[in-house]
């Protein structure tokens, strides 16, 4: 393991807050690392201190004990003009400005490099254009930032970090407030940055699906500390399950997904093959039924060229339905009687 590949590391770090007379330690003995070309997802339940950790990494909050090292150098030894060339930070603060173009916001990422008045050299312009292109914002570049959607605004902030051209990008919940497709596209973009440009990206998220599927390394923050490793390692050791399971929620190591824990279920016999049958089973599970070949209640899924039909046989009564919804609601009515 080559140490020059380690972009960020913490050694026995304590994080927390310092007020006038008190010091509150949120978490201590944190020893973590993140490497060049790695996508690191910081996950954990609300209130565990994810923001505090990220902000301590970039120097916005003081190290209350231990050390942070960026590119091998201790954080406190890095000058204030050198630091922004090493790490960029995207926070959760909303942008509340008008009348400033997307391009100009991205250009502010070149702040550490520009002259006293902020003029952009051709190199700076190029970095800006590249950042806009990578985030798919070229067509919106001339629009004012208050004139675009939330997702586009989020991408603008990411483009800004990109334009800063740092080896390390730290992002606090970059996918918050975004719809599903946008969330996926952001994570895919981050993935690209690490793979194609060799950057190290550390980001916090509540989006467990994408984190587990796309991240190279997970930092899982619980009340006791941080567990670190590849997503699969953490699933294997049951760490993910332990961190997130609850009486209502169960984690399947097999599929790597969460599902609701269902209460006592009635038996139902299900016959059929294919996608329609699998989906029918899901719907029946949701409504409190479990597959039991011996059950007196029986559902048959008939797929034909004219469409799909559901046949319910209860004792002597037979009913036909044309959609899963109809099937399920009538079963529900029946069970009430």
């Amino acid at each position: 393991m080559r140490t020059e590949n380690i972009i960020a590391e913490t050694v026995d770090l304590s994080i927390g807050y310092r007020t006038r007379n008190r010091v509150k330690i949120v978490m201590d003995h944190l020893t973590l690392e993140a490497r060049k070309g790695e996508l690191v997802a910081l996950i954990g339940r609300n209130g565990t201190g994810k923001s505090t950790l990220l902000r301590t990494l970039v120097g916005l909050q003081p190290e209350l004990g231990g050390r942070v090292r960026l590119q091998g150098m201790p954080l406190h030894a890095i000058g204030s003009s050198q630091l922004p060339r090493i790490v960029s930070f995207t926070s959760t603060e909303p942008v509340a400005v008008r009348n400033i173009r997307v391009r100009d916001v991205v250009a502010l990422g070149r702040f550490p490099f520009t002259n006293w008045i902020g003029s952009l050299t051709p190199d700076d312009e190029e970095a800006v254009s590249e950042a806009l292109e990578a985030t798919g914002l070229l067509t919106l570049a001339e629009r004012s930032i208050d004139n675009i959607s939330d997702g586009e605004r989020q991408r603008t902030l990411i483009a800004r970090s990109l334009a800063q051209d740092t080896a390390l990008l730290v992002m606090d919940e970059p996918t918050a407030f975004l719809d599903l497709p946008s969330r996926y596209s952001i994570v895919s973009l981050l993935r690209q940055l690490t793979r194609e440009r060799g950057k190290c990206v550390i980001y916090s998220t509540h989006d467990l699906d994408t984190a587990i599927n796309e991240a190279d390394r997970i930092w899982l923050m619980t009340g006791e500390g941080i567990a670190e490793g590849a997503p699969e390692d953490l699933i294997l050791t049951g760490t993910v399950a332990r961190a997130f399971e609850s009486p209502q929620l169960s984690f399947s190591s097999n599929t790597g997904t969460f599902s609701f824990i269902r209460k006592q279920q009635t038996g139902i016999a299900l016959e059929g093959k294919g996608l329609a049958t699998r989906l029918t089973e899901r719907a029946l599970n949701r409504c409190g039924y479990t597959r039991d070949p011996q059950a007196s209640l029986k559902v048959t899924v008939n797929e034909s060229r004219e469409g799909t039909e559901w046949v319910v046989k209860r004792d002597t009564v037979t009913e036909h339905y044309r959609s899963i919804y109809d099937l399920v609601s009538c079963l529900a009515e029946a069970s009430v009687q």
Partner: protein, 344 residues
Amino acid sequence: MKGRSPRLTLTMAGLILLVALLFVADLLIGSTRMDAAEVLRSLFGNGTPGGEIIVTQFRLPKAITALIAGAAMSVSGLLMQTLFRNPLAGPDVLGVSSGAGLGVALTVLTLTPVFTLSAGSAMQGWGIILAAWAGAGAVMIIIMAVSARMRDIMTVLIIGLLLASAISAVVSLMQYFSNEAMLRTYVIWTMGNLGNISYPQIRALALSTAAGLIIAFLMVKPLNAMLLGETFSRTVGVRMKRTRAILLASASILAGSVTAFCGPLAFIGVAVPHIGRLIFGTTDHRTLMPGVALCGSAVLLLSDIISTMPGGGHIIPVNTVTSLTGIPVVLWIILGRNGIGRRF
């Protein structure tokens, strides 16, 4: 500067032209009847002795003062609005005007004036001005000390406002115990005045305004970064404590100097930056700062012209005019399309 559109250049040029026109108009329009030819002759030393005195001792100093003071107060307001991220912030938010008022009150409202200067000295006529400067300077030092100790800029804002209120209360107390002549002198000072300023005083005002404006313009880059929030600014390399101190100093120098010479000028600092944003359609301080300065000059020159409108030798005090024009602007901010506080 790459990226500056022809529209911006055109607007700036148009504004410069407007300021020049208003300057000339302010010279031509006054409380006494003088035709344009006579005014121009007086400017070049060819007018009647009476006319020359009117133009060179009354109208020209007034116009120059309006030009300088308008720019200074507006830029001071712009700095405050960006620093505090508050569209209603203005130079008086720091209590600098109140501090100046306290200095003047100590000179004018007490029976044994604190700042009497011997009449024969070279500093004659500067008594009130120096007192106001000292008061403004004292407040500036207090605010900067507070800012150095407080993490949150909002705390500084609140303390500035409280300081302004406290000083006002003290001055009210002093007014209560003073006699009519003193009261009238103080009250008239608070109405703002552009006329009673001699050329040496104009020089001093110009110097301090130039200093303040230069410092302010050197800060455009961090100001632009601050538009995106304090967290962003810090992570991109802005040294917040130092930047804050410089901005507070610059704004105080600009507002304090103007208040010392002209009394507290109302609303210019709050309203003009918004006019600037409206005209230029940008929040980029590289354009906005010179733009706002020009707008401020234009607005104050216009206010001076309007103040002589009643005619027949009667005038409206300049603060009344700036308030009456400033209040609609502030209302427009609050009731505007996007509402206050949601977008800045």
